[in-house]
Symmetry: C2
Subunit: 449 residues, 2 copies
């Protein structure tokens, strides 16, 4: 039953646009969900997509625009006049409208806002533009349903019918006092099962979770997940109800955060996508590669210091990439586990206990790997002393790499720095250098070159 | 306003449990949200936690149990009798009850199920146990509100009040025909604004998104996100409404998937947490390290084949870890971008076009890095020919690594294998070997050793 885009479908729409057959085009597109229309537009040329946005009614296109990826949306909006953009914003929820506006320059914002006719909507959007986008204020919408505790259920129902027109999904109904301060909530279900003459003050639930406009987005996501909330009211500094965050915005937020961490672990800063420009992708990738390059030059320097080994123990140089790779791999594993644990508030107990655990674990893993590498040396008839030096230093390097991988994110976290930055190139590079140095240093002691 | 666990709080509860002061304990804990009680239990000893679970009413503890992490929940449940567990399951939503039961052996499941008194609840749970946990059937709950199209709004309201008792959150009301087949939906808001005498058939929305019991969880998550759904009905093979998936389950699903990908990229298979046992953590980490070790041994073998360079160009061996690290880093970057693009359906167009883009990008990045490494050689007075060989092979290695990093996940995806497995150790190791080989091979051609 689910929509699947096909080349035939795209061709058909292209033809209709080229023929300017507006009537049939409208009729045809009316059957698609707005999210599907967005998918279709992403496959069309900018001119074709703009044509369709101008053709369809703003109620539909406002939804379509929100579903488009940022790059395509930006291009299409640049093809519209301030008045046309304002018409789209009129149909959007306040949080979406503010998000879109934030992508324009201040001057463009003013021009567009001046064209919004609904004064209340305009004021709401302007208010939202003032908040930092990573806070509750930046995530919330102004659309919500609120009632007074002094009302009756019947009066509440009347008022709700009026307010509900602007609110797509009701979730909770919020109860405020005469100063607009949030004092409780109840659900549509509660309303349906109550006698019409009952006072709201008798049925509302006075315990209500909320955040303030300045609460960090990450904190909001944690609260909504922990308490399984589908909507969370937002209050200002003095407790007045000013907005509401819904779960769909948080789903997007969680996904974005997870993608950011994933990219950081892979050595990609900034939020980039496969379809971004080469320049944007380079800006996100090159700095990490340069870091890796300097790390590599560091290890060149270290190995030059041990060049006395070249004559009798060239085998050590053949094993250097193996040692570096193992140090990097172990470090990334250790740090990934800690980073994820920290994100989920799962890492409890002291840093010391954590290090002891990682020590035990890496000693076990390291011993297995050292044994393997020693057996390999034995099988291919390698000099026993060299094999022993390699195995012992491999074990040491693995243990140290694991401790570094555990310690660094924990320390970053304690200092308020995002520990996700520690997984990936940062840990790999430092463990590479440290591992190579330890490898040659220990080998030198054992083999005495 | 938000709950923050403190040592004093834990101490106070410990004392109350030790003193068996049930009355005060109950009074004290009553003020906490069940998610907070779960957090408290995770800090207590198993005996203390079990004591509290047995003390509080099952309506509360059923919620608390669901919020506990899996390891702690398992331990506490093992301290309860089949009858006590059955009492908890009676209070849970069917999907949660089935998830908990699935953690027991078949024989234990039977014992527990035999103790569930509500026959309908029992049958529902047994039905859910039959589905694969990664499908819509395994994700859905039986709790939902359904009405017949032939009813009036007033009749519907009556029936809904009855059904709503078992349904925590209503979301949509589903409309079925006389054969229980799903034909539409409407919202509580629609119900509130309709005349009581209206027939349901006049107000319901015949377009309704749904999935079948066998739809993959990943597909369900995509549909709910794309269409911004908070609940999604599930039908059986012949279209009968059998359950409903709510957004909170999907939030958990999305988080789990993101964490799995993140761990795979870091070389950790299985789903492990920082607090898991050393054995479990080793099982997830060691195989990838062994893979890395064999890769390293492969590069030992390659370098032995080029040992003629040792005499005149030992510098090449000092640069090998740098080359390997760059090949690994570039490969991980390229594959991460593709893996994420695939997960979000963002990677459009042909594989060929994608490879050409990555080629351009890596040529640019590689040229910058090659220039840096050549300048370094010049600054430290390195032999010009060696520097040139190193720079040229670095550029080549970076391009090849980027192509491998792009190509491998695309091919895996085409063959229906999770491309996430390609980021991390797999790509790093193969790029290490390939990079080292290319480095020596190109250097040999240029320097002629």
């Amino acid at each position: 039953m689910h929509f699947k885009i096909s080349p035939e479908l795209i061709d058909k729409i292209r033809l209709l646009v080229d023929a300017q057959n507006d009537k049939e085009l409208e009729l045809y597109l009316r059957d698609f969900h707005y999210a599907d229309v967005a998918e279709i537009l992403e496959e069309l040329s900018l001119d074709h997509a703009t044509y369709i946005i101008k053709l369809l009614d703003t109620e539909t296109t406002a939804d379509v625009l929100m579903e488009l990826n940022e790059a395509d949306r930006e291009k299409i909006l640049n093809n519209l006049s301030p008045k046309e953009i304002a018409d789209e914003l009129e149909e959007m929820d306040t949080d979406d409208a503010a998000d879109i506006l934030a992508e324009f320059t201040l001057q463009e914002q003013e021009e567009i806002i001046a064209n919004i006719e609904d004064e209340e909507h305009k004021a709401d959007i302007q208010e939202l533009l003032g908040y930092n986008e990573d806070t509750a204020g930046g995530l919330m919408a102004k659309e919500l349903i609120k009632v007074r505790e002094t009302w009756t259920v019947a009066g509440c129902l009347r008022e709700m019918r009026r307010q509900a027109e602007y609110v797509t999904r009701v979730h909770s109904i919020y109860v405020v006092d005469k100063d607009d301060k949030l004092i409780g909530r109840f659900s549509l279900k509660n309303l349906l099962t109550a006698d019409p003459k009952t006072k709201i003050s008798e049925i509302y639930i006075p315990r209500v979770d909320f955040v303030t406009v300045n609460t960090e987005g990450e904190e909001v996501a944690k609260i909504m997940q922990k308490y399984d909330l589908e909507a969370l009211p937002v209050v200002d500094e003095i407790g007045r109800l000013v907005g509401r965050i819904t779960i769909d915005d948080i789903v997007d937020f969680i996904k974005d955060e997870a993608e950011k961490d994933y990219q950081l672990a892979a050595g990609i800063s900034n939020d980039v996508e496969a379809d971004d420009s080469i320049l944007k992708l380079s800006k996100a990738r090159l700095p990490w590669l340069v870091l890796g390059l300097f790390g590599g030059l560091g290890s060149v320097y270290i190995m030059q210091g041990f060049d006395a080994a070249l004559e009798h123990y060239p085998i050590l140089f053949f094993f250097t990439p193996l040692i570096a790779a193992m140090a990097g791999n172990v470090g990334v594993q250790s740090s990934a586990i800690i980073v994820q644990g920290l994100a989920n508030d799962l890492v409890k107990g002291s840093i010391f206990k954590r290090l002891v655990k990682e020590l035990t674990l890496s000693f076990f893993n390291g011993a297995v790997l050292a044994l393997l590498v020693f057996s390999f040396g034995f099988l291919v008839g390698q000099d026993i002393n060299s094999s022993l030096a390699i195995a012992i230093s491999l074990l040491t390097v693995i243990i140290i790499a694991a401790l570094v991988g555990t310690f660094v994110p924990l320390v970053l976290h304690k200092r308020g720095i995002d520990p996700a930055i520690a997984t990936g190139p940062f840990i790999t590079t430092s463990n590479d250098i440290l591992g190579i140095f330890l490898f040659f240093y220990i080998s030198k002691i054992i083999l005495g070159f």
